[in-house]
Symmetry: C2
Subunit: 230 residues, 2 copies
């Protein structure tokens, strides 16, 4: 593994080097963070006992130069990860469909980050801070509106920390690569995520607290409505 030349550049390693459509690779740490701070779920891959691959979706939050992941502990990840586990976390934002002159050149627009490394369980003493960070990311402001986690809840909660040392970013945006030709429509169709209106649970009488419009506003802003500028 080669060292990162400086803190704003991602290192190129045998793992992170993009082999196909190499020109779509981005080397800026800012590009990595821009993807991680928009998506909600990482697809986390690891090797199960017996050598077979597993991929599970996990909610996460970036905190500085690491992500904290929290999600289904099924599929053996919690058991395997007691002492750190080799994994990859892939985060993909789908941005649209590209209609080129041929099907061969037609493609998808996307932003994709892959993080390779060893994830360690967050120690008990740091778990509450980690859970608050994930909560602040997914439901900003909610922490102050509800009771704090109990000791029992903290004990039952499992958070993994994956450093962002070895990561790869690939981004495709905009229309086809070829210049336009006569007689054929070419272009792209954007796809983006939208956050909807909050739906109160049946029987709720309390007014809507600040975290709810705050969450909607945060994701409206980060999801955007147009092709991303990275």
């Amino acid at each position: 593994m080669s060292a990162s030349p400086d803190s704003t550049t991602l290192p190129r390693t045998t793992e992170t080097q993009v082999n196909r459509y190499k020109w779509l690779q981005r080397d800026s740490r800012a590009d990595l963070y821009a993807i991680l701070d928009v998506a909600l779920v990482a697809h986390v891959g690891f090797v199960r006992d017996g050598g077979k691959p597993v991929v599970i979706p996990m909610g996460y939050a970036r905190v500085g130069d690491a992500i904290l992941m929290h999600g289904s502990t099924g599929a053996g990840l919690n058991r395997s990860a007691k002492r750190g586990i080799d994994l990859v976390a892939t985060v993909t934002i789908m941005d649209g469909l590209v209609f080129a002159q041929s099907l061969f050149d037609s493609t998808l627009n996307y932003r994709c980050a892959m993080i390779f490394g060893t994830a360690d369980p967050v120690p008990n003493a740091e778990k509450e801070v980690a859970i608050k960070a994930i909560s602040d990311r997914l439901m900003p402001g909610r922490w102050a509106e509800v009771r704090p986690p109990s000791a029992r809840e903290l004990a039952a909660t499992y958070v993994l920390r994956l450093p962002l040392d070895t990561a790869s970013v690939k981004v495709r945006a905009g229309g086809p690569d070829d210049t336009a030709a006569d007689g054929i429509w070419t272009g792209h169709i954007p796809i983006h995520s939208t956050i909807g209106a909050p739906v109160p649970q049946n029987g709720v009488t309390a007014p809507v607290p600040a975290s709810v419009p705050g969450t909607v506003e945060q994701f409206q802003t980060s999801f955007g409505g147009a092709a991303p500028t990275l």
Copy 2:
């Protein structure tokens, strides 16, 4: 592996049995297809030479009781898969955020399908049909509007076929599980995908062909705007 009791039920195996929030598991093949026919990208995990996990996003299309996957052949998947490769394809649709009375019970809404198996490269003689199936799914109608793939393009294209024999479906929808309590707002905030207006490439003079509004309409319908009914 236990045999599927009938063709409409997914088999429970050690791989497909959900271990956490077991009650969210769905056993109907229709639920599996409903997820696969909405999402555009599968996160495909496999074990690289050296035993480390890799997860790459791949565009796919379901055709009957298999998915055909086509995407970046980086990360060694194409080289590894010459004779079939053990992999898992996970497809997740994020449906929203659930605000419960505690952070511990707060969660995400999602539809998730995991498919375990051995993927085989589609043989040369069947590649054009496979590529057409993927094209018909992602850009319905486009096949008839552009030239067919050349022999050279087909040779350079790589499609994997993964049967849907061993698959697991987990779905969370709606508000919190607890009943509402006095004095605290609880509910959920939906998230969904939206397809935008087509963006013609600079210099395009041809009129918009039928595949473009057709694609928009297909994804508008399948993405929906409300919580899914599965």
